[in-house]
């Protein structure tokens, strides 16, 4: 048979025919718009090739990304979309959530995303019901994901998986795939965490156990991936380190409110000391559990309201506070007398003025160190105390009163001390006792300074006692330095000394005059004492103690020369003083610590502070003004008289229905100590204003802290919301 031969014309005809056919099919292809190869090759693979009733069947979602393209984690980051599955399963089958391996950062320009590139496998599962009637089960799934390079492409893929139902265990179909997938899932760790906001950062501190410490201490390249959106700036650098036995994660804050979430889950990735990439899944509770159930509003989250000073700021505040302390009536006389002795120094001694200044400063610093150390130890032993704690003890108050009284008597000329450390208070400046004397004058200055607080001190003290001991101690030293500063300057700067008046008879008068601020301090301490002790005999006992001291001193100066009178009088003198001390020792505090005895304050309409009473008021709608005060706190008492108790303020309170809550910290009160601590403070006064509840939103505005020096004007500004 001869083959049909294609001539030239037939070639053309057949070519044309093919061309027409081709163009027709090409047109058909372009209308279906199916991409030829997806940017991520995705497969849905069941762990077992059979269905067993009552069990959970795991699926691996394996993804192979085209080079340079990525998909997204559970929290995709600044943009993007995580993978989603639309299941179509028979009745009773329950699909579960996707389980993600540890993500990697996927930066794009200034934005940061979290996700995967190269090859990775997600996991998911379906719970299979106990009763299945069919022999075969078909599971359909439509997987959708977003894959991005610098542009993004949404992709989908449909799967239909039919599996036989058996009741026998069979071997897994892809053991290696599933084992690798499971190993890449971050391991959950139960490390306890706390979260706080400070300045523009969020700081999460996890307490590491031994295993955790071992895992993390030599590791590096930590990265923190939160599951919640909007809390941190994803593109910002993260500051994560292991210190002591804690993992501290410091992240730059974004704008979503922390109180919108209960728990923050996250993944931490890192490289261990062999360079292997590891990851853990962590969790931290955000909302503190409210003590009240039901509708009552818990006391608002306070960590975000307090912007504590930085370390440097606290140091400066402490120095400033210490400097101003010199003007307080308890310290000023000591400073003046010390200055007097400077003036009286002979020219030869002047050259040693520097050393006097240094020893005085040392005395102050050592004494502050001891007090600070005591405070820190007591605090870490769990005592609910703050600055001024020593004044919550009436024994300490009365002894301080005795000391100041004795000093005042000395200054007034009632008696002289010829030698010993206190001689510097008096005229003489025994040269070889000089330096030691200066040292003890410094100690004395510190002791008498303790009842007084100066502005700026409270913030610095409050900050100090929330910090590790070393930091706290440094701030106390700064306070002491501030206290020593005026005298130190006088000692080191001769021109300053030259500007002081020349020695003369006026000095004796001045010295006697200085006894009066000290007497005034004594009067005030006795007033505090009477508010602290039980019963109405407080005033009498305190004053009796003072008289005994004075008598003991006087009588020792009039010892007759002849025995046995000499010994007798000597004994009487000592006996008086001892009796005074016994009175002090027997003082015990008022049975109802939180109620103030200050009659003037009592006259104001107020509620005594307690955790319960404040919460009750907070559950209502009225604005609330909280005044944390103490009898021994001069600033508090002044503020009360010139700002809170004024007619203007009392009228304002009445008009706006402001509920006044007064917390009296004169004696120890752990509830008040805790309240102060929540606001980053460690002493009084503290004034907090809770605005009225907005009846539309049902929420109160954030509580506001008022300044420590008040006026009626400042109070009305805060209450009228102008602040």
């Amino acid at each position: 048979m001869k083959l049909f031969k294609f001539g030239k014309n037939q070639h053309t005809a057949i070519m044309a025919g093919f061309l027409i056919l081709y163009s027709l099919t090409a047109h058909a292809e372009s209308t279906t718009k199916v991409p030829t190869v997806p940017y991520v090759e995705t497969n849905l693979i069941p762990e077992f090739n059979s269905i067993i009733a009552g069990q959970t069947l795991y699926f691996a979602i394996s993804q192979k990304h085209t080079e340079g393209w990525h998909t997204y984690w559970k929290n995709p980051g600044d943009s993007g979309e995580t993978l989603s599955i639309e299941w179509s399963v028979p009745e009773g089958f329950k699909p579960n959530d996707i389980i993600y391996p540890a993500p990697s950062p996927q930066p794009t320009g200034p934005l940061m995303n979290f996700g995967y590139s190269g090859e990775n496998t997600l996991l998911t599962s379906i719970d299979i019901p106990k009763n299945i009637t069919a022999d075969t089960v078909t599971i359909n799934a439509k997987l959708s994901w977003l894959v991005c390079h610098d542009i993004c492409i949404p992709e989908t893929k449909d799967f239909s998986i039919s599996l036989p139902v058996t009741n026998q265990d069979i071997a897994p179909a892809h053991p290696a795939l599933f084992e690798a997938a499971r190993l890449s899932i971050p391991e959950s760790k139960a490390w306890q965490g706390t979260i706080e906001e400070m300045n523009q950062n969020i700081i999460i501190t996890y307490q590491l156990d031994d295993e955790g410490l071992l895992m993390l201490k030599d590791s590096k390249n930590f990265l923190f991936f939160p599951e919640e959106w909007g809390l941190i700036k994803y593109a910002a650098p993260q500051d994560i380190k292991v210190t002591d036995n804690k993992l501290v994660v410091k992240l730059e804050r974004d704008s979503r409110a922390l109180n919108e979430i209960q728990t923050l889950n996250s993944v931490l990735t890192y490289e261990d000391n062999s360079g292997a990439k590891k990851s853990v899944a962590l969790s931290v509770a955000v909302m503190p559990k409210s003590a009240i159930s039901g509708g009552a509003e818990a006391v608002p989250e306070k960590s975000s309201f307090v912007t504590p000073p930085s370390f440097i700021q606290a140091i400066f505040l402490a120095i400033l506070g210490g400097f101003i302390l010199n003007l307080m009536p308890c310290v000023f006389p000591v400073l003046s007398i010390k200055t007097l002795s400077l003036i009286k120094m002979s020219d030869r001694e002047q050259r040693h003025a520097n050393l006097h200044g240094i020893f005085y400063t040392l005395g102050i610093l050592v004494c502050f160190g001891v007090i600070a150390g005591l405070l820190i130890i007591l605090k870490s032993a769990g005592q609910q105390i703050g600055w001024g704690f020593q004044l919550q003890n009436p024994i300490v108050i009365l002894l301080l009163a005795y000391l100041l009284f004795a000093m005042a008597l000395n200054l007034s000329g009632f008696f002289e001390i010829k030698s010993g450390p206190l001689a510097n208070i008096g005229h003489k400046l025994a040269s070889h006792h000089g330096y030691k004397g200066s040292f003890f004058t410094g100690v004395l200055a510190t002791i008498v300074a303790t009842p007084c607080t100066a502005p700026f001190m409270a913030t610095a003290m409050g900050y100090a006692l929330t910090q590790p001991p070393f930091v706290a101690l440094t701030i106390f030293m700064a306070l002491g330095f501030g206290l020593a500063l005026p005298y130190l300057l006088l000692c080191f700067i001769p021109p300053l000394r030259k500007s002081l008046p020349k020695p003369g008879a006026w000095m004796e008068t001045f010295r006697q005059f200085m006894s009066f601020p000290l007497f005034a301090s004594v009067a005030w301490l006795i007033w505090v004492y009477t508010q602290q002790v039980d019963g109405s005999y407080g005033t009498l006992l305190g004053l009796a103690g003072l008289i005994l001291i004075a008598f003991g001193i006087w009588i020792s100066r009039h010892e007759p020369k002849k025995q046995p009178w000499k010994t007798g009088i000597h004994a009487l003198s000592i006996g008086s003083i001892i009796l005074a001390f016994v009175i002090a020792g027997l003082s015990h505090t008022n049975a109802t610590p939180s109620k103030t005895d200050d009659m003037a304050v009592q006259s104001m309409n107020h509620t005594a502070y307690s955790v319960a009473s404040l919460e009750k008021l907070l559950a209502g709608n009225d604005p609330i003004f909280v005044d944390m005060t103490a009898a021994w706190c001069i600033t508090c008492k002044v503020n009360e008289r010139i700002a809170i108790m004024t007619d203007a303020t009392q009228d304002l309170f009445k008009r706006q229905n402001v509920q006044l809550v007064i917390g009296d910290w004169t004696n120890q009160n752990p509830e008040i100590t805790k309240f102060l601590a929540d606001y980053g403070r460690n002493g009084v006064p503290l004034y907090v204003f809770y605005g009225a509840r907005n009846l539309e939103t049902g929420k109160r505005p954030e509580p506001k802290i008022l300044p420590q020096i008040l006026t009626s004007g400042i109070i009305s500004e805060f209450i009228n919301g102008e602040e």
Binding site: D78, C148, I151, G230, S255
Partner: protein, 200 residues
């Protein structure tokens, strides 16, 4: 010296606050630019009117979802009827996806049958970064007094399937309705979804 240090300490936190992300309840950051028709647009001049800012990129699948389905255009038309000023903003950098010239932008508006009051080409990304715009779409609603009252997603269904739009809760519609009724905006901040804004 001490006072200078203290002054610096006081000012330091202030300087970092100078570029903080826009906050709900605070004045929206001021910006000015020419739109694709050469008209000058300045946010402070729009006081007295509600303003909606919409970050867009006509090639992003999520934007396509809302424009392809007619959802965005419908929203823009509703807004226009109420005197709300709708500003679409393109912050794609040069040579990045979505970057267009003014003519191209106007052609896209015509093709989409979109009705924004203005479209601004923010090629250097300044306005985008000022508002911390992360995605396309990313939406901001500013009230008549110039206060930012909403920022975040256009609705609560973040997939790219247009089918889900009809069941989604549209946050912009809700915010505009709240403002019209004189009520505070109920949902003021949500997680925006979409493709990343193509900054440089």
């Amino acid at each position: 010296m001490k006072s200078l240090l203290l002054l610096t300490l006081v000012l330091l936190p202030l300087s970092s606050a100078a570029h903080a992300a826009p906050e709900i309840g605070k004045p929206a950051p001021e910006f000015m630019a020419n739109d694709t028709n050469g008209r000058h647009v300045m946010l402070s001049e729009l006081k007295g009117k509600t303003v909606v800012l919409e970050w867009t990129n006509h090639e992003c699948p999520f934007v396509v979802k809302h424009y392809g389905s007619g959802n965005m255009q419908a929203l823009q038309a509703e807004a226009a009827q109420d005197g709300v000023v709708w500003v679409s903003i393109v912050s794609s950098a040069k040579d990045k996806q979505g970057n267009v010239t003014a003519e191209e932008a106007n052609k896209i508006i015509a093709d989409q049958k979109a009705v924004p009051a203005h479209k601004i080409l923010d090629e250097d990304g300044k306005i985008g970064k000022l508002y911390d715009a992360k995605t396309t779409p990313d939406m901001f609603v500013i009230n008549k007094e110039g206060i930012l009252v909403y920022k975040g997603a256009i609705d609560d269904k973040s997939g790219f399937n247009p089918e889900e739009i009809k069941d989604a809760k549209n946050y912009i519609r809700a915010a505009l309705n709240d403002l019209k009724a004189g009520k505070p905006v109920e949902v003021s901040s949500t997680k925006p979804y979409g493709c990343g804004v193509k900054y440089e």
